[in-house]
Symmetry: C2
Subunit: 304 residues, 2 copies
Amino acid sequence: MLRFEVMILGNSSATPMYGRHPTSQVLNFNEQLYMIDCGEGTQMQLARYGIKSNRINHIFISHLHGDHYLGLVGLLSSQHLMGRKSTLHVYGPAALEEILAIQFKHSATVLQYPLVFHPTNPAEVEVILDTPAMKVTSFPLQHRIDCTGFRFDEGRRSATLNATLVDQLDIPTPYLKLLKRGIDYVDPDGTVYLASELTYPAPPSRSYAFCSDTLMNESYFETIQGVDLLYHESTFLHDMADRAKETLHSTGQEAAQVASTVGAKKLLLGHFSARYRDLQPFLDESQPFFANTLLSEEGKWFLV
Amino acid sequence: MLRFEVMILGNSSATPMYGRHPTSQVLNFNEQLYMIDCGEGTQMQLARYGIKSNRINHIFISHLHGDHYLGLVGLLSSQHLMGRKSTLHVYGPAALEEILAIQFKHSATVLQYPLVFHPTNPAEVEVILDTPAMKVTSFPLQHRIDCTGFRFDEGRRSATLNATLVDQLDIPTPYLKLLKRGIDYVDPDGTVYLASELTYPAPPSRSYAFCSDTLMNESYFETIQGVDLLYHESTFLHDMADRAKETLHSTGQEAAQVASTVGAKKLLLGHFSARYRDLQPFLDESQPFFANTLLSEEGKWFLV
């Protein structure tokens, strides 16, 4: 099975405390790396956890609060200094392009690699990347400024061979791949071997959704329906639900209610406020509403 | 003697490696904190070393290469979120004001404390802060973009009492302070006690100079003449003197030559290139030219 995992580089909300870092994540799908948000210090976090930043070709920025993007100029500049040549795609709010441009202008930086900026739409659900391997959809969240979440859907997966049956036959190796793609094999004598009989059907494609920052609000539930892994912000514990509402954030309990409502398989909590040193109470309040809840831990890979 | 020390928060040049961080320093003069440069991750470094960022009232930015200022927006925003009320002064290239403004605008941040921006002059030596405690002078360095160094001069120091003599007399306590400031004491009988006889003269005021980033170039030597502690960048070892010249940086040996020429008492090297994991060779090549050379180490206080 192809690798599909997310590493949390930062699980802190705006004020980084207790050694926690502002938001950034790296999604590894079959050794293709996608970055989601890029808070201050992300390039140092990448180095710390041994992730080569030149392997990242797509960066998705949810919104323009500093704790979600202030590491981007440093990361892009370091890629330049380290001799990157391959294209880097950045997806984010339209104003981000201006913020990057003014900083590159005043540092007299002319990037030595192509940087392609894709403005996201804060008002509509949009497919922003569509390759055979991965489809990425942005969708509006409800925050104090324009903010989008991102859903990642693995491309269509292959069927797997029924090894017991296949081993009894004399099918040339190149045709095995075709069988997995559903193409029947016809041998030189004209005998037909049906792909549908020699393979197990492809498992459903896996999916990951990133929701930060947002008020819990059903407007985005449809888009994240049925994801395998849901990352949902939980800035506050539920005894501060009023404060969460005021600041357009969510609580641990609310995140669990979202996961349950949309039929997610697993929930990953993050974006914890600086007021909480101990994070265990987030699990305690969430698991009664959604048992399969995990706390995001920096530097750890979570299976999608 | 009043405390006068500098902590190095980052000793790395542009690409942070080996756990080193981009440039930032905190100068502590008598528990007043002054920050010099503010590379990415500075607010996390402050937390790591237990320095309360709300005690910093003056921040000096040398130039607009990312490794010298990308932590500023995060630091200013966190101060806002943590409820700072006192005025914060930022000194730096004029364009920095625009860079801050556009980011506060798009994050819809209205700072809850007064931020006063003071543009530095990249072409002339200028006194930019002048209080009884501290005078700060900016001066042009020679880099690829406008860049200034900063010199910090402690205000006039007090004389110290000659305790042996004073203890034999019956001078009321409040007058002891005046003696130290050079004011003679006249007792009720009209006897005059000369301050000049009862005190040792004030020691000379101490000074610190920060030179990063720059080509070694005598244009700035006069301004940093005779400082007690000179921080001078040494991006490269001297076998790469050509590369240093090309990129308008200095070598360890050159920094030592500067320290020797200007009559500094101590030299602190920093801004090390990512190509050097081991920093000992910087000391080795510098000390023959200036014996009192130190390597900047992150998290350590250096006496001015």
